[in-house]
């Protein structure tokens, strides 16, 4: 089972290389160079902070672009083009196929975020900002957040068209970062709005769990326990979305 899943994963990774997704790393480099050279004279002493902020945010946003463009059409594209049948007629189960596709895109994201991470470290190292290990923790948690969103996008791609699935994944990103405010909103409001907000707070992933970007830039501590719990939380949500996808996929006629 594992070898078949890995074969699908490697195929997905090769496809992303052919789709020139890694050009995004070049775009990230341009963003960083821009933040370092163009903005530096305007920052009034905050150069290191701004380069670090822009670097970490750029990484997350460009990664989100990959999730929205690729993750939301990861399986559906192959279903529409009927190429999926050539794989599933071989001894590859739907679950193996789904997991393989997901792992392939996760590997792509790992490589993209990893390369961006290297550029980020170099850029921050060239500024007066202090570079600490916690910056790498922020990079890791950004990757984990993108994996949760990818799993969500894959699930949405089974229940909606490509564009709508990308829209739903974007909405998941937005709501995932506003969830704590939604909780406050639920506490203040009455009637159905309160129940709806409270429900959303319970049943959607809180993406702020993975957001330590501002904290690491200011040198605030990020504990190993915090990272471990965030990892557990992320893996849990990935499992939820993939299991739901598997259920819907099982009922799909190809």
């Amino acid at each position: 089972m594992l070898s078949r899943t890995l074969a699908v994963a490697l195929g997905t990774f090769r496809e992303s290389v052919r789709d020139r997704l890694f050009y995004l790393v070049g775009a990230f480099g341009v963003v960083l160079v821009g933040a370092t050279t163009v903005l530096s004279p305007l920052t009034v002493g905050a150069q290191g902070k701004i380069v670090a902020d822009v670097g970490l945010a750029g990484m997350a946003l460009l990664g989100l672009l990959v999730v929205l463009l690729v993750g939301a059409s990861l399986v559906r594209k192959e279903m529409e083009q009927r190429t999926i049948t050539t794989v599933l007629t071989k001894p590859v189960g739907r679950g193996e196929y789904l997991l393989g596709k997901y792992l392939g895109l996760s590997l792509t994201l790992a490589c993209i975020i990893g390369l961006m991470g290297v550029l980020y470290v170099v850029a921050v190292w060239l500024t007066p900002a202090e570079l600490a290990w916690s910056h790498l923790v922020a990079v890791y948690l950004t990757w984990l957040e993108l994996l949760v969103l990818t799993a969500g996008a894959v699930f949405f791609s089974f229940v909606a068209g490509n564009a709508l699935a990308a829209g739903l994944a974007a909405a998941l990103f937005v709501i995932g970062h506003l969830l704590r405010s939604l909780h406050d909103f639920a506490a203040m409001s009455t009637g159905p709005g309160r129940a709806l907000a409270a429900l959303a707070y319970r049943v959607l992933p809180d993406l702020e769990v993975f957001n330590v970007r501002a904290a690491v830039v200011h040198g605030d501590p990020v504990t190993a326990g915090q990272v471990a719990l965030a990892t557990l939380y992320g893996v849990g949500w990935i499992a939820v979305f993939l299991l739901l996808s598997r259920v819907v996929f099982a009922r799909k006629e190809l």
């Binding site: 903005l39 305007l42 920052t43 002493g45 902070k49 701004i50 902020d53 822009v54 501002a214 830039v217």
Partner: protein, 236 residues
């Protein structure tokens, strides 16, 4: 489509870009007189924080660049600084640990608005978010030292700055110097001796040693003074 047609289309596109660029410049120039008032519509920092969708720090950076540009406009005589505080407040609500924003804003209060109390208030607001910041403590002392001439108060803030993590030796030097200027020779002596004993910088140790000798000489000339007693500014 023939080569000639393609070249024509490309030329039309280029001409359009040139025309739109000129039109954009005209539109920007027409909007220029009201440019500064755009800040009037800056939303509250708490709303901006929500709207930043998990990226409050880059949003703070962007608003910070706006604040710096706005200050530049003031220096060029385009407007007064009426919206500067709003911009800085938005920056520090988005990113409460943006130390440079507090420091720069305080300096603008002192130098451009002649509002030392406002400057100290901004720095104290920063201390709520960054209670361990030696720099914010130091800047408050600096304002009391340079702008209001309250050397005793300045000395206590400098001494507090020296107690914070990562503080440089010069905080203690400023504390000792300010205590001396306040007329508190014993306090100054205590702080210089402390600096001489604990600094790792040989030049600083040498300077502190000379100051200790000088203060001892001055104190021994003053009737009734005891250089070994506990000074009033020793523990601010």
């Amino acid at each position: 489509m023939g080569r000639g047609a393609l070249v024509s289309l490309a030329a039309i596109a280029l001409a359009l870009v040139a025309g739109l660029s000129a039109l954009g410049a005209d539109l920007r120039a027409a909007a220029r007189p009201d440019h500064a008032d755009e800040r009037l519509y800056l939303p509250d920092g708490r709303f901006l924080r929500l709207a930043s969708l998990g990226f409050p720090a880059p949003a703070a950076d962007y608003t910070w660049l706006q604040a710096v540009q706005y200050y530049g406009g003031y220096r060029r005589g385009e407007h007064d600084l009426r919206y500067f505080d709003g911009l800085v407040e938005a920056v520090t609500t988005l990113d409460p640990e943006f130390e440079d924003a507090y420091v720069f804003s305080a300096l603008v209060h002192c130098l451009d608005a002649n509002d030392q109390r406002g400057a100290v208030d901004v720095l104290k607001r920063g201390l709520v978010a960054l209670p361990d910041s030696w720099r914010l403590h130091f800047e408050i002392g600096f304002i009391h030292y340079v702008f209001t001439g309250e050397f005793g108060v300045a000395s206590r803030w400098f001494a507090l700055a020296a107690e914070q993590p990562g503080a440089s030796d010069f905080c203690r030097r400023f504390a000792a110097w300010s205590a001396g200027r306040d007329g508190d020779l014993l306090g100054s002596l205590y702080l210089w001796e402390n600096l001489r004993r604990t600094t790792e910088n040989p030049d600083m140790r040498d300077l502190a040693g000379r100051m200790v000798d000088s203060l001892r000489a001055r104190l021994s000339d003053e009737p009734g003074s005891d250089p070994t007693s506990t000074p009033k500014g020793a523990n601010p």
